[in-house]
């Protein structure tokens, strides 16, 4: 990736998190996923993305918990390094440089300081010759260490990392390739190999797809391409080994996984059903069906309560355009089969799925499923139009157009109209009119017609429900329409018919003019925005980018450039054009009124561009630099053919991101209760005080009676005074008293606190003493302007009341103690 001065391409969220199995931390609080160049940390409780471990310069290919310290994680990457992280704080502890591209990492408790890595045997990884090596990680205090002590374990390794697993107590490692299972015993330094026949009589495919080892027994579970699961035992005998076969999956088993106790075996495949097999009970099994996409990996937490499945949702080809939901500013794209997913770019989180097809998804190989192929939003986000179709390959094409209305109450889209035979052939494109008053949808199809759809009250339908119906059918010389676009004010509709662009008036449905620039079929079409709305820009297959002035109906300018994707920014005049030439994609940003590009970025990525979208920013940036000015109003996201979501970021933005990430310190250790909120604030404050390098400028100090609460929570129950005593104290501590004291309420609180402390000194536990100390420290550090302790009236009253309270119960307590 080429970095330019300020604007650079960034792999942003949405890259695959399913390349490698996710892992769950020992305390089951975090899920870690390898995603692109970073490791993402998610909270299991809130299911939110917490932070990323960034530092690798290439694809992260494996993560595993450090067996010596469960708060640390190893990650390996194709850049040839193994990094050790503290994943809670997101700190890089160490980097081990191996020097070869790494493809998977395994560790075991028995092998302290050794990691097992997959490296490519030859320099080109296409050769599929992989080697399992053990690497001794040198113990040294330095940040970056070169680990050169490589010892090969085996070269019969499958490129699939789930085909390797450690056995009980790390005594052996099992790995499979194609039809051979190998078990290597470390102590004996001996490999046992077991081969299966390539096919059996029924033509089943026996190749291994995944391996898991039982945590306590010597039992290896293997998944196979034909959906069988075999449980191998007695594998120290080359002849008397035995296995049992279980068969439920009807396609390849993608993952098998034992629960930590070994009582159950989990398996998943393309059927998107998680199967739980009872270990040792034959074929007794339970199912968790309808999990969405096909299951790629399953991991379990160490307490066995959480299973984590990763699916192949976002790897499927995105058929629809990338879109932005005008309401939630979420990126909308294909998700689960038959669904649209709404994806928040800001928080890098999947918001929700919208079931478009509304049919139960049953996987079967070769079965043609309904897929959402087109989707469009109107400008306000009230309407969503989708097209689903099936039978893309065969002649019996089946498709339907659906219109969804936004329901304010449920905050979701509700199906309004389904049009089963909108056209007689496949719908090529569709767009909503951009005017605010009337919403109109135009669809173009391969049958040579374009249709305008309006929401109108039909005579035979009820008045209160407005369904969509066809308003106008247009065609032009029986040519096939390809693209359609509304001008910014919706006064014009441009429809391209192969080489000809026709301009229609949507009000009268009259053909206004035709524009033509042969040769070359029009590939993309868009109107200029804002001040450039008089321009119409089109790209053709013959490497021509044309711009017409609609007032004169004449070609304003044209330039010869191969444009694969044209994307106008709705909030500015800018238009982004991607061109794919000689194996890399270039980006040009220009304004329609001048043929000079505003910004060019050569070699954005090496793959072809698939989709692109401008995402409006929540608050515009104020970059004055010319090259990055176009990113001020909105951000450009684009999806490559490898389904990597990329974006452009500017320097100022990165700075801000950095600062915001530092501000976000989330403590997950305490459940979210009212107490937690109070305590959390308290801690935050303490942290700030303790780190003077970080002057707490942003947040006003809110020292609200946290000391009282800490005391309340940390003092053993049997030494606490009666609840009535504490309660009043607690309530009063929460009150904001008069203005005079407000300057330093903390200070004041402590004094009242100390009053109390002195009264029951004889019972103070050590903890309380410590608490007291820390308070004094706090005082020393935090408050610069010392104010003499002054009691508010309320507190004086309180004090008196406390003094009056009968403490005879304490005497009783003392007596009762032996």
């Amino acid at each position: 990736m080429v970095e330019q001065s300020e604007v650079r391409v960034v792999r942003c969220g949405g890259s695959k998190i399913n390349l490698r199995p996710p892992i769950i931390s020992t305390d089951s609080r975090f899920v870690l996923c390898a995603s692109g160049d970073s490791v993402k940390v998610y909270s299991t409780r809130t299911e939110e993305w917490l932070h990323s471990l960034q530092g690798h310069t290439n694809q992260v290919t494996g993560i595993t918990l450090n067996p010596a310290n469960h708060l640390q994680v190893y990650s390996c990457s194709a850049d040839g390094t193994v990094k050790l992280w503290d994943f809670i704080d997101g700190i890089l502890i160490k980097t081990f440089i191996i020097g070869y591209p790494l493809f998977a990492i395994y560790v075991s408790e028995k092998h302290d300081g050794i990691v097992f890595l997959h490296i490519a045997m030859d320099t080109d990884s296409k050769n599929e010759c992989f080697q399992l090596v053990a690497v001794h990680l040198p113990k040294s205090a330095e940040q970056e260490v070169e680990a050169k002590e490589l010892s090969a374990v085996s070269s019969r390794i499958s490129p699939n990392p789930s085909c390797t697993a450690f056995g009980r107590e790390g005594q052996y490692i099992a790995f499979a390739r194609h039809l051979q299972l190998n078990v290597y015993f470390f102590r004996k330094q001996k490999t046992y190999s077991f081969s299966l026949k390539a096919t059996d009589k029924k033509g089943a495919k026996n190749a291994f797809t995944c391996i898991a080892c039982h945590p306590a027994d010597d039992c290896i579970a293997t998944g196979h391409e034909d959906g069988k699961i075999r449980l191998w035992r007695n594998f120290i005998h080359t002849k008397e080994y035995t296995y049992s076969t279980q068969h439920w999956h009807h396609n390849a088993v993608n993952t098998v996984c034992f629960t930590p106790e070994g009582t159950n075996l989990l398996s998943g495949g393309i059927e998107s059903v998680l199967v739980q097999w009872q270990y040792g009970a034959g074929n007794r099994k339970e199912f968790l069906p309808r999990l969405g996409g096909s299951i790629l990996h399953v991991s379990t937490s160490s307490d066995g309560q959480l299973f984590c499945t990763s699916h192949s949702d976002n790897r499927d080809a995105v058929l629809t355009d990338l879109m932005i939901d005008p309401r939630s500013k979420a990126l909308v794209l294909n998700g689960k089969p038959g669904h649209l997913q709404f994806y928040s770019l800001l928080r890098d989180k999947h918001l929700y799925n919208l079931d478009i097809v509304q049919q139960e998804y049953i996987y079967e190989a070769g079965l043609d499923q309904f897929e959402v192929v087109k989707a469009a939003f109107d400008i306000k986000g009230y309407w969503l139009a989708t097209v689903e179709e099936r039978g893309q390959k065969s002649s019996d094409l089946e498709f339907s157009l659906k219109l969804w209305a936004y329901d304010e109450r449920t905050q979701s889209f509700v199906l309004n109209t389904t049009i089963t035979a909108a056209h007689t052939d496949r719908i090529m494109s569709m767009c909503f009119s951009s005017s605010e008053e009337t919403t109109m949808l135009v669809t173009t199809a391969e049958d040579g017609q374009f249709k305008a759809w309006c929401q109108g009250a039909d005579a035979d339908t009820q008045q209160d429900q407005n369904f969509w119906s066809c308003d106008f059918v247009g065609s032009y010389h029986n040519l096939k329409p390809t693209n359609c676009s509304f001008s910014a004010d919706s006064s014009l509709l441009a429809v391209s018919f192969q080489e000809v662009i026709t301009i229609w008036s949507p009000d009268t449905w009259e053909l206004l003019t035709t524009l033509c620039q042969p040769p070359g079929v029009v590939r993309d079409l868009c109107f200029g925005q804002l001040s450039c709305s008089k321009y119409l820009i089109a790209t053709t297959t013959r490497n021509l980018l044309c711009c017409w002035n609609l007032l004169t109906c004449a070609l304003e300018w044209s330039t010869s450039v191969e444009v694969s994707k044209l994307q106008p920014d709705p909030l500015s005049e800018n238009v982004a054009a991607f061109s794919y030439q000689s194996k890399h994609t270039d980006l040009f940003v220009f304004k329609p009124n001048e043929p000079r590009p505003l910004f060019t970025h050569k070699n954005v990525c090496s793959e072809k561009m698939h989709r692109a979208v401008f995402v409006p920013r929540e608050e515009p940036l104020n970059n004055c630099d010319e090259s990055s000015q176009w990113l001020n109003r909105s951000q450009l996201y684009f999806l490559t053919q490898n389904m990597d979501l990329l974006t452009f970021s500017t320097a100022t933005e990165e700075d801000r991101m950095l600062s915001s990430s530092k501000r976000l310190v989330i403590d997950d250790s305490v459940a979210v209760t009212p107490f937690y909120l109070l305590l959390g604030k308290h801690r935050q404050q303490q942290q700030k005080l303790n780190t003077p390098s970080h002057p707490a400028a942003d947040k006003p100090q809110q020292p609200q009676g946290s000391v009282t609460i800490t005391e309340l929570l940390h003092t053993p129950a049997h030494v606490l005074p009666a609840a009535s005593v504490l309660c009043s104290m607690f309530v009063s501590s929460l009150l904001i008293s008069n203005t005079g004291v407000r300057q330093d309420p903390l200070r004041e609180m402590e004094s009242s606190e100390q009053e109390m402390n002195s009264e029951k000194e004889e019972e103070h536990s050590e903890e309380e003493m410590e608490a007291c100390d820390s308070q004094q420290e706090l005082r020393a550090q935090g408050s610069v302007d010392e104010v003499t302790p002054k009691l508010s009236k309320a507190q004086e009253r309180e004090l008196k009341r406390v003094r009056k309270t009968d403490f005879s119960w304490m005497a009783g307590l003392i007596d009762s103690k032996p």
Partner: protein, 685 residues
């Protein structure tokens, strides 16, 4: 190879009977199989599972259990009797009544001293095994419900009995019950049905394993009488269990036709704490599996679909060979069809009756492979029902078609067939010589003037038959050797020689003119499955169960040169690996160097004038030869010409008019006549 007109006969509605019980004798490596029709067969496990002995059953004689005691075989059935078999003469030795109602199970202890039977009235009866009979000793504590299954502890001191809803453990010394373990009934609707403990196995470490009608295989501890573990094997019944000799493997047969293997493996490698783990599943049956047996190297299972399946355990086999292949035995290794060559009559032997058919006639000539127009349809001439309850042991029709003979365990009947135009009538020959009371094998001489009847002590009685009646001529006795029953007889065309083969693999040749034993063929290790005397050279051609072939010159009393060449060069691998024995040897009178053989799957012509194939040459070379020119063909052709056009062959016979009769019994036809199997959900149906 030559062209033949073929009568493709499919009107022999032979139905094999379902397998009810299996018993394996480790010492002699014999597998005893009891069928639904009451017949008992003995297979030789190390001799390619050749069916050595067949003891035909009787009407209303259902066998429920089989047990070996030493080398003696006992059976018990629902008629309430215990039967011992005379395996030498292949007949029932005696039957004694146990006086406990129908017997469901029989088990002998490993010491060979006692037999235990489980009866309908709830008693376990102990019989002492004496030298030549068994004697009732005593009853164990009587239970309320019938005893369905029994198993002795290897020490012989305890017996586990499976009953309705429970398992009882008896102390043999005291006869009292030690433990009573309740088997759970199924859930749901089957709650009301009682749980039948179909099978029980008592291991030497005190573990009792049961298979029940709920579909569970349960492991119990006999010390505490508690359940250790249960495996849900099927939704239907687990009907049969069998444990291997060293008690590290267990097989369970279910009514779905599945055999499930359990193995006693250590859960942690290198440690001794072992557990029974379900491992392999074998699906070779379509119907209920009524009996399983784990022998040293294989799992043998049989059931309602009447086939005996030998599934080798590859981990127990030292090297893979033809002997270690999966074997399915559908048809008996005896001939059920006799052919009157000169008159075109076929005699079909059913258990309870005989059928005589006249072959059809066709007209004209056709190109090879085409079917000819049938001028006259085949015709069933005779349906001869057996008198009495015994089933037919053997039968024969004379080459001229005038005489029909059959024998049961108790009687032998000879009939004369009168055939004038369309009127068929038979007359029973009433006065038979005394020696013809029963026969193990019957054969007519080629001129139909003599009948050979193999009887006890490996002797062959010679009877001359004529219009006037039949007359005993003499008895041919071997000079020495065993007294095993003869299962094959072959008479020479010129009426000079007759050869007999018995189940001790001995082949004796007798001179009919002197009525003396002529010689004995050197004993080969494998059983003779078919033999024939060459009409021109008077050489005895023998096929053995291990697919070896020998040619023995009777006159010179030695193996022929060709036979020696075969033995020296060895037979082709593909020939040796065939898994069904050859059942008939014929000679082509037009071409004396041709020997015609057949087994269940193929028909083969051996041309003794051509070179033998070695392992490198292509064995099935007919298609290649077709594509070659005349001259090249000579260099490529070898002695074996195999025809696989016909399937599931019961008999092939060469008629004098150079036509072949091939009797087929397609397995699909048998499958359609079987009762419907348990309905199972099949994926994607």
């Amino acid at each position: 190879m030559g062209e033949f007109k073929v009568h493709r006969v499919r009107f022999f509605d032979y139905m094999p009977s379902g397998i009810r019980a299996l018993a394996f004798n480790q010492d002699t490596e014999r597998m005893a199989v009891a069928r639904m029709d009451g017949s008992v067969e003995v297979f030789h496990c190390s001799d390619r599972f050749f069916q050595e002995k067949i003891i035909p059953g009787r009407e209303q004689f259902g066998i429920e259990g089989l047990s070996w005691v030493g080398e003696r075989l006992f059976s018990a059935g629902l008629n309430g009797g215990i039967t011992e078999y005379d395996l030498t003469n292949q007949k029932v030795k005696y039957t004694i009544d146990a006086y406990g109602g129908p017997i469901w199970t029989i088990a002998g202890n490993q010491q060979g001293t006692h037999l235990a039977v489980g009866c309908e009235d709830g008693t376990v009866k102990l019989f002492e095994v004496n030298e030549d009979n068994i004697q009732f000793e005593r009853n164990l504590d009587r239970q309320k419900s019938r005893i369905v299954s029994l198993s002795w502890h290897p020490s012989g001191s305890k017996i586990a009995a499976g009953m309705m809803d429970m398992i009882q453990v008896f102390n043999v010394e005291t006869g009292h019950s030690m433990h009573r373990m309740l088997a759970d009934r199924g859930v749901g609707t089957s709650r009301s049905k009682e749980c039948v403990v179909w099978s029980v196995v008592y291991l030497s470490d005190g573990t009792i394993i049961t298979g029940d009608s709920v579909g569970m295989v349960k492991l119990w501890d006999d010390q505490t009488g508690t359940l250790i573990k249960s495996h849900n094997v099927t939704k239907c019944d687990v009907l049969a269990l069998s444990v291997s000799q060293n008690e590290d493997s267990l097989v369970a047969g279910t009514s779905e036709g599945i055999v499930v293997q359990f193995q006693f493996v250590s859960m942690v490698l290198g440690k001794d704490d072992k557990e029974w783990v379900r491992t392999r599943t074998f699906r070779n049956h379509t119907h209920d599996i009524r009996a399983v047996a784990e022998i040293t190297t294989a799992v043998v299972s049989g059931g309602m679909d009447a086939q005996l399946v030998v599934r080798p355990l590859l981990d127990k086999i030292e090297e893979r060979s033809a002997a270690s292949a999966l074997r399915k035995i559908h048809f008996p290794h005896r001939r059920l069809v006799a052919c009157a060559r000169k008159s075109g009559l076929m005699l079909f032997q059913y258990p309870g009756h005989l059928e005589l058919w006249r072959l059809g006639e066709s007209e004209g000539k056709g190109i090879p492979g085409s079917s000819l127009f049938v001028k006259r349809n085949p015709e069933k001439l005779l349906h001869l029902k057996v008198k009495g309850e015994d089933h037919i042991r053997c039968s024969a029709v004379s080459p001229c078609g005038e005489w029909i003979v059959y024998s049961t365990a108790s009687t032998l009947r000879l009939y004369r067939l009168h055939c004038d135009n369309n009127n068929i009538s038979i007359t029973k020959i009433s006065k038979l010589p005394k020696v013809l009371s029963s026969a193990n094998q019957l054969c007519f001489s080629s001129d139909s003037s003599h009948l050979f009847s193999a009887s006890a002590q490996s002797s062959v009685h010679l009877v001359s038959i004529s219009q006037s009646g039949c007359k005993f001529v003499g008895t041919l006795k071997p000079k020495s050797g065993s007294h095993q029953a003869i299962h094959l007889l072959a008479a020479s065309e010129d009426g000079k020689w007759v050869a007999s083969a018995n189940s001790d693999h001995e082949v004796h040749i007798y001179n009919l003119q002197t009525r003396k034993a002529h010689c004995t063929v050197p004993i080969y290790s494998s059983a003779v499955t078919a033999m024939g005397i060459h009409p021109a050279t008077n050489c005895l051609f023998m096929m053995h169960a291990d697919q070896q072939m020998f040619e023995y010159s009777i006159e010179q009393k030695q193996y022929t040169d060709w036979s020696r060449t075969v033995q020296r060069k060895g037979l082709h691998r593909l020939w040796v690996e065939r898994d069904t024995p050859c059942l008939n040897v014929m000679f082509n009178p037009q071409n004396p160097s041709h020997v015609i053989l057949h087994d269940m799957y193929m028909l083969c012509i051996i041309d003794q004038s051509l070179p033998l194939p070695d392992d490198k040459t292509q064995f099935y070379n007919q298609l290649t030869l077709k594509s070659l020119t005349e001259e090249q063909r000579k260099s490529h052709s070898h002695a074996f010409k195999v025809c696989k056009t016909f399937k599931d062959i019961l008999c092939v016979e060469l008629m004098p008019d150079q036509s072949l009769v091939v009797v087929e019994r397609p397995l699909e036809d048998i499958a359609t006549q079987l009762p419907a199997p348990i309905k199972q959900k099949k994926f994607a149906t």
